[in-house]
């Protein structure tokens, strides 16, 4: 057991736990934040994505030992921002959500991209989404939604 301190959704938190746990389980079980999902559990699907220091990572591959001192943002906190509202409306408008299991991860991937690159090309969007699987939409609608969000949210990123 060890003590790990980090910032979760802008709040300083302390976890007393084994260091060899996945950040995914810590967030879902210790903090009861269930927006991120476990899909594949091996870094291939992106359903467990969170922002760490404002970059997308797979929380299933992120060991708790590595979280000390870092800033973690989950979909629950991001959902309070104006940028999220723009992304949400763009996803709705373009039909980029069907079952919704992948959507929290897709939204985190979108924010990670637009934060660094507010005017991405179609190829840059595809690269940014390359670690997120969606079995419903066929991806085209998600790419279009991100193009729409970048346009509608001009100046927010």
């Amino acid at each position: 057991m060890a003590i790990v301190k980090f910032t979760l959704n802008h709040q300083p938190v302390t976890v007393q736990s084994d260091l060899n746990r996945r950040l995914l389980d810590v967030i879902r079980n210790d903090f009861n934040l269930k927006g991120l999902k476990e899909g594949c559990g091996e870094g291939e699907c992106g359903a467990c994505a969170v922002l760490i220091n404002h970059e997308i990572v797979n929380s299933c591959l992120f060991v708790l030992a590595n979280v000390e001192g870092k800033e973690v943002i989950t979909i629950e906190e991001f959902a309070k921002t104006k940028r999220f509202t723009v992304i949400k409306e763009a996803f709705a408008k373009m039909g980029a959500v069907q079952c919704g299991f992948c959507t929290p991860g897709m939204v985190i991937a979108t924010e990670s991209l637009l934060h660094k690159n507010p005017h991405p090309t179609e190829m840059e969007i595809k690269v940014a989404l390359s670690g997120n699987l969606c079995r419903c939409t066929g991806y085209n609608m998600i790419v279009e939604a991100i193009q729409e969000a970048a346009k509608a949210g001009e100046g927010l990123w």
Binding site: L19, N20, G43, G46, N58, L61, V63, A65, V127, G131
Partner: protein, 279 residues
Amino acid sequence: MVKHIIPDTLSEALKYLYQGDFQVFAGGTDLMVQNRSWSETSIEFTKNMLYCFNLQELKGITAIDGRIEIGAMTPLETIMNHPDVPSLLSEAIGEMASPAIRHIATLAGNIGNASPAGDSLPVLILYDAWVELRNMAGFRMILLKDLIIGPRKTVMHPEEMIVKIVIPKHRFDFERFVKVGGRKADAISKVSFAGAVDIEDGKIADLRLTFGAVGKTVVRNETVEGAWIGMTISELKNGIWRLIDMYDPLILPIDDQRSNKHYRKTVAINLLRDFVDQL
């Protein structure tokens, strides 16, 4: 019970490595999958773990005296976007995993994991990259080509760790990296290929060819490469069947869950032929 240690300095980390049986943990994206257990349970590491996240000495990229030095704890995405990093390496990293993994994973981890399908390896070996290993007593430099001797096997001693990767600066006249996988992202290679050529006064001055995932280690043969130095590109093109014959006995892939040896061999030879065609 295995121990979990997060040292704050490199010298502290090396002291732990000297004392006992520790597994160095860089980004951990391979180790987390290799040792994972049931959903919602802790990762079942079988060795004492040495987490290197706080070792500031191992982070960052510097360009000095005709070489690039990449700290062992630098994430792949940072390396990929750095202006001094050779373009072929950036290209290969761009084909590895996904942004969500590249923000965590490291080049040192790709080397230490020593998979025959490690995607950075054919490019690093093509560039004649060196690896700096450290232990409590000091350091040694070893060519990456000599470091990895088989699947998951290196010549590193248990008390040593990778601290940096050193790449000689070189701009080739023509270079290429191709990865063949099940899909464009998050795929482990079935076959990979890297090639580079320098031409001086119409003649081949340097030729380097590497093949990944078609043998126990990356295939590179300097004798075969050297046989074409001083020839023209059209002599190389006309000699393509001789070149293929030279590589035929060196490319010895296996069947596994991702592909089979027949496919791998055919594709590796086709990639070589296509590289020469494009010159």
